[in-house]
Amino acid sequence: MKLEDLRRIRERASKEISLRTGGARVRVIVGMGTSGIAAGARDVMGAFLDEIEKRDLTDVIVTQTGERGWASSEPVVEVRVEGEPAVVYGEMTPDAARRVVAEHIVNGSPVVDYVLEVRKDAT
């Protein structure tokens, strides 16, 4: 193994610990309260995780939160891109999740069909 090989291992392995290093550009927060889960939030989250993996996006993390008072619009997902207002999506589906990854997270334009709220105060 040469130094270049070592660096290649580092590049590959750094994905393994990226959750712990806190260098995420994007946070996807899936509402996983009772109504969210009942409305299919787990499938939505699965679609996010799968699409992020497929596209090999290393700077995106997916976390969960509880009930946020939007039961009728569940599943609710908030997408926070560093330096931009947070976008809250409602009535999400697995397909919508894949669109959000492609259009919002990768290309930078939110999927307006599903937007519930845009929050400028979020960090």
């Binding site: 130094l3 070592l6 291992i9 393994e16 610990i17 959750l19 309260g33 976390t63």
Partner: protein, 600 residues
Amino acid sequence: MRRRLDVLICSGAACVSSHSEAVRDALRGEMERQGLSDEVRVVETGCMGPCELGPILLVYPDGAFYVRVRPEDVAEIVEEHFRKGRPVDRLLWTDPAARRLAEEKRQIGFFAKQQKIVLSNCGRIDPENIEESIAAGGYEALGIALTERSPEALIAEVERSGLRGRGGAGFPTGTKWRLVAQAPSATKYVVCNGDEGDPGAFMDRALLEGDPHSVLEGMAIAAFAVGASRGYIYVRAEYPLAVRRLRTALEQARRHGLLGERILETEFSFDIELRIGAGAFVCGEETALIASIEGERGVPRHRPPYPSERGVFGQPTLINNVETWGNIRHVILRGASWFRGIGTERSPGTKVFALSGKVNRTGLVEVPMGTTLRELIFDIGGGIPNGKALKAVQTGGPSGGCIPANRVDTPIDYESLRALGAIMGSGGVIVLDEDNCMVDVARYFLEFTCDESCGTCAPCRAGTRQMRGILERITAGDGDGEDLERLRALAETVRRTSLCGLGQTAPNPILSTLEQFADEYRAHIEERRCPAGVCTALIRYEIASDRCRACDRCRRVCPVEAIAGAPGEGAYVIDVARCIRCGRCRDVCPFAAVEVRSGG
């Protein structure tokens, strides 16, 4: 599917002792049952620091910090948090300032004032997986050293960094490297001193368990710099987890071509062998350690010649402490001037301390040199339990001394501690409160050094025994007016005439307590009184008749039937002649009626 949670479970020795392995198994089983194994991974890490709160779980990316987790809590954590995203509040760190988010973990008092460099990977990566170590920057410094730097440049960098030996004496590391590099011999050795033996010290264990690769990397860099091709790590058999992880790390490093022949396909070859010590304290002394490595009995030799001239098998040997080795990769990677920017002018960098004794948050911490003892004990350690007053801080173990409470604003560095009659030592910090008797503390340490004296030289063998005898006499109430002078004279002789560091520093606990707490010694001798109420020969237990409610609890627990009374009748009475002063009556009394008295 991409993993979305890393659940880090602290697997340092302290957490293993509090049954973290059962929690780990429960986690893996529950995750399997709930079908989350693909999304959530359990990672075993080294020590995270707050040992007293173990077993500990740290969940990334959200940063929830769970403490004192029991196997029966696991199902709830997995269901509520990992599945539904609702952290289980009752198990989160309950520090008033604590929050559950990762970005706020740093605001937890325990972590806020720490600066983790040596321990940066401890509690963050899996120490048994070399790829996680590499991902966290491991072996990059070695790669750079072998391909872009000359041995001379490496030595100069370490010299410029001002790094000093973390084993306790504070000898400049770069100077040591240069001495070995200049020694004229074709065969040289590098040695890692992991014979951590001070009561209350567990810094080296934590680093060896939590990030063994950082030690291997430091040694390999040094071997290249000084021209050695063989190294030894000397570690105690009583650290089985550290030994196991070191073995794993060595094997993985060899498999990756980071140890062994032609490292990273350069001309440089170097390998490391483990030497397991039997736990004799004297083997932490470098010449005794070298003898032990050679297969001889672990007894010290005269210095000079120093190991840099004649060490292992008579060859020039570079010997550094575990924590010193852990600093090397950072010095090489980030440079001497970066390193000098941390800590103080004469003591750059950080120091790892093991906090124990009468302090709320016992555990492992790393702070910049120059941090004050007050910050260490109160801001990080959370202060003294039960509203008691701080009395003194013992640093440096059996070679160190006690710093009185009125000096806790002293910034910690090699010189300031020495000026107070203590030493930096390897980093053990034992906090003493008003209930500790300083004569008894000195006696405890002398008993330790007396037991551990190897017997080679008379001053240490006989002197520690004599000093211990005098201290025992004083704590038994049989001291006489000349004992303090005798102690001082003996201490001075042992200090000046012992063969090795063990004997030369053994009197320190006496000298420093005599200097700072002479009144306490005099109370024992002149008034037959132990002000802290510790020395059993000088105290008696009494029941305050106005507070006693005749509940009978004390009488029932007394192992020698020294307490008389009948339930519901008059106040109970302790028969002082029969009482063995075990204190169990005081522990069970709900009315604080049992008092310890000493003197008059």
